[in-house]
């Protein structure tokens, strides 16, 4: 089956390291924006977080103001009107406000606490019509949103689609991951062959505008797979990872790629992912950037596509920041490498429930 291309007419992201270019530069130099901070904001054990400011929820929300710098780069269109649908994704939305309400009993927090109310606030704040499709699937949220947006584009509902994703940390989220014992007191070292692991969490927001009009970068071969083996674990034999990656590998054939993996810093999933990539894409270097910017949760797919675009623009792919020493597989790249010899990148994200999402990002300047 021929898969249509969705061309990226515009894109951008913000992380505590800056915009896409600044975040890319930081990763390329091997630095991280993660810092050890108390897990509950003012108190609790120190864990690695990459944040714009304190994670406590405020009124008005800091995150809404923070998004203004990102939205300023979105091309002006009648977003939300016929022909210009908006797809908004997140795993958190404004959920931190519900804990803030629980503690303070200040009703105003509830106006930002849920998916629909936070999206209504965003649409109202930025003048978009309130017709957004909202998708939320934990850490593959943005990838799922991109797939839905591509279909809207190619099935006739859109001239262009805006995909927008935002995830800002709060004690609700950091406390939850800490309770699962995967957000611990050490910096993440994705794919490192060692005995202990931790993820790091990060603030992040991003957008892409998808179009049918040719542009330099394009996305295709968007795939989803869901193991449904366990809420927080994958099939222990790695078949979930292998099956998911085999599907896109079969579709893209001989396209020479590097792989931007999910790589949060958890031991078991990191090992399974690295082994599956080595098996399915034996010639592809594998990197993860969550050791630098942390895991931006439901927005990671959209934040990281922006960083992959920067890598293709500048010809150098940042390595797996935070990882030194032995890795699970030899194809894990801990330092930067040139992408001159590659035609594209497979972008992969994973989530609770054994969810897998992957797609192919290509640079037409290298394909032609």
């Amino acid at each position: 089956m021929t898969r249509p291309f969705s061309h990226i007419a515009a894109s951008g992201c913000i992380t505590p390291a800056g915009d896409a270019r600044q975040t890319y530069d930081m990763l390329l130099s091997g630095q991280r924006s993660l810092r050890m901070q108390p897990v509950f904001g003012p108190h609790g054990d120190n864990v690695p977080l990459s944040t714009f400011e304190s994670i406590e929820s405020t009124l008005p929300p800091k995150w809404l103001t923070r998004l203004e710098t990102l939205v300023a780069h979105i091309p002006s269109r009648p977003w939300g009107a016929p022909g210009y649908p908006v797809v908004i994704t997140s795993s958190n939305f404004g959920i931190g406000h519900i804990l803030a309400y629980h503690d303070s009993k200040v009703d105003e927090h509830l106006q930002y606490a849920q998916a629909h109310t936070s999206v209504e606030k965003i649409c109202g704040h930025f003048g978009w019509q309130h017709s957004a499709s909202i998708l939320s699937h934990a850490c593959v949220s943005a990838d799922v949103g991109m797939l839905h947006a591509s279909r809207l584009l190619h099935k006739g509902a859109a001239h262009e689609v805006l995909v927008f994703s935002f995830d800002f940390l709060s004690p609700f989220v950091t406390g939850g991951f800490n309770s699962l014992k995967i957000l611990n007191g050490s910096y993440p070292a994705p794919y490192a062959n060692k005995e202990n692991g931790s993820i790091g969490l990060g603030d992040g927001a991003a957008f892409v505008v998808l179009s049918k009009e040719p542009a330099r970068f394009r996305i295709s071969h968007q795939n989803l797979a869901n193991e449904m083996f366990h809420m927080t674990a994958n099939q222990p034999d790695g078949s979930g990872f292998r099956n998911a990656l085999s599907r896109i590998a079969a579709e893209i054939g001989a396209t020479k790629v590097w792989v931007k993996g999910h790589g949060t810093g958890t031991l078991e999933a990191g090992k399974l992912e690295a082994q599956a990539v080595a098996s399915v894409f034996p010639d592809a270097p594998l990197v993860s950037w969550k050791g630098g910017i942390g895991h931006t949760l439901g927005s990671c797919g959209l934040v990281e596509i922006n960083l992959a675009i920067e890598a293709m623009r500048h010809g150098q792919v940042p390595g797996t920041v935070g990882t030194t020493g032995p890795t699970w597989e030899a194809n894990v790249k801990t330092g930067p490498f040139s992408c001159a010899e590659f035609q594209g990148a497979v972008l992969s994200s994973n989530a609770f429930g054994g969810a897998h999402a992957s797609s192919l990002l290509t640079d037409t300047h290298r394909m032609d």
Partner: protein, 225 residues
């Protein structure tokens, strides 16, 4: 661009229930292995009930929609601070309701599209059923009644769940979903909001649904006589 039609082959609803009797919850749990049922939320049990006897295949498209998600679980998670409960945290994350059911069934699927939102949530979900490349589509929606979150307008006043099973095959269909992506404006009788409960009511009574959303065109659900 041409309209797209999907053919409805099954619907199943459960609810609405207000202040569900614990004995009823126990009945719902009987549909699952005891070890799994112990950890499942009421929302998941309702979804399990409305999928009873339904065989979802690995290559089907599974589309899920909810506005309030795991309300009781969310309340319990908040109450667990400053020692947050890992089980309540993982179960509170959208779209855990349907995931709990599929995990209990050990049912892998390829395509899972979980929608959130309120005003247009079912319009968006039905649009997804019409745009997927998969030949069979399951649209599943559910809400769970809360306590203080419901009082604050952040939870559903009732428990309910439903599914619409659709495919590309018109043979034996009981109805159809038609998506017109190019509809320029709403018709005089079109709904301008299609929440989970509104569609639940229409599906339960097999009423025609005509819904318009500015950026997603027009959705029509018709039932065969």
């Amino acid at each position: 661009m041409a309209m797209i039609t999907r053919y409805i082959h099954s619907i199943q609803t459960t609810g609405p229930y207000e202040n569900m009797d614990p004995a009823h919850v126990k009945e719902l749990k009987a549909g699952f292995p005891p070890a799994a049922a112990r950890r499942m939320t009421r929302l998941a049990l309702l979804i399990g009930k409305c999928l009873e006897g339904i065989q979802i295949l690995p290559d089907d498209s599974v589309i899920y929609a909810t506005t309030f998600s795991e309300t009781m679980c969310l309340e319990s998670y908040l109450d667990s601070f400053p020692n947050p409960s890992p089980l309540m945290f993982q179960n509170s994350i959208h779209p855990s309701g349907l995931e709990q059911v599929l995990i209990a069934r050990q049912q892998p699927i390829s395509e899972f599209l979980p929608f959130a939102g309120r005003r247009h949530v079912m319009h968006a979900a039905l649009t997804a059923a019409c745009t997927t490349d998969k030949t069979r589509q399951w649209i599943i929606a559910s809400e769970e009644q809360g306590t203080w979150l419901t009082e604050k307008g952040c939870g559903s006043p009732t428990d309910f769940a439903f599914h619409i099973g659709a495919s590309d095959d018109p043979q034996g269909a009981i109805g159809r979903i038609i998506w017109d992506p190019s509809a320029p404006e709403a018709g005089p009788d079109d709904l301008l909001s299609l929440s989970t409960f509104t569609l639940f009511q229409h599906v339960s009574t097999r009423h025609t649904v005509a819904s318009y959303c500015d950026s997603l065109g027009r959705i029509l659900i018709e039932w065969n006589p």
